[in-house]
């Protein structure tokens, strides 16, 4: 009974996290900030659902555990990939207060790609 109650609470909290993730997605000002909400808060929601599942149902805990670990690895790295992509694309922070990466960024920027596109794009067009 206690366990069940615990599960109910976990599920509610998980649901709340999911909602908050989405609300954050809706309300936060730009891509970088939104990633904090969806990429991680959202993931936390699912993790808690899995915990609840292990608590109340005869589900195999080991599978749930593996899935949780997987989520903990994959969720952040997805956020990282998206953030990097956004930066590469030249999407700017809204009211960013500091950018240490500016100037030292060695990857490709959308800027460079655009240049490439106009000056040598024909070649690429020919090739592909």
């Amino acid at each position: 009974m206690i366990v069940e109650l615990l599960a109910v609470i976990t599920i509610m909290v998980a649901t709340m996290f999911s909602v908050i993730g989405v609300v954050g997605f809706r309300r936060l000002p730009d891509v970088y900030t939104r990633l904090h909400a969806t990429g991680k808060v959202g993931v936390l929601g699912v993790v808690m659902l899995l915990i609840a599942a292990v608590l109340v149902t005869p589900l195999v805990w080991s599978k749930a555990l593996v899935l949780i670990l997987l989520l903990l690895v994959v969720g952040p790295v997805t956020a990282h990939v998206l953030a990097l992509a956004a930066y590469e694309l030249g999407i700017e922070m809204k009211e960013g207060q500091q950018d240490d990466l500016q100037g030292v960024f060695t990857g490709i920027t959308a800027e460079k790609i655009r240049l490439q596109d106009t000056s040598e794009g024909v070649k690429r067009g020919l090739f592909e």
Binding site: I11, T15, L59, A85
Partner: protein, 91 residues
């Protein structure tokens, strides 16, 4: 399973399902491509939630297996899409 638990599950299921709808909307009306991609990723995450909830309702871990596949592959998809969004997409 108690009625309370089942009610909670149904509630959560309903919420998650509706959130998926929002995510799709977001994918349609995203600010930029990363935003859309985030929407896509979010759909994956929420679907995983739905799968877990179904697994609880059905009391079977079969759906967890499905979720495992979704998680592993969703990652691959998002990474590939992100790399593409930078280098491949045209205005």
């Amino acid at each position: 399973m108690s009625t309370l638990l089942i009610g909670t599950l149904y509630f959560s299921l309903a919420v998650h399902t509706l959130l998926i709808g929002y995510a799709v909307w977001r994918m349609w009306r995203g600010e930029n491509r990363i935003d859309r991609l985030m929407g896509f990723d979010l759909i994956g995450t929420l679907i995983l939630g739905v799968l877990v909830l179904i697994a609880m309702i059905e009391e079977t871990s079969i759906f967890i297996d499905v979720g495992l596949g979704l998680t592993a592959l969703g990652f691959v998809g998002v990474v590939a899409l992100a790399r593409y969004a930078v280098a491949g997409e045209v205005e």
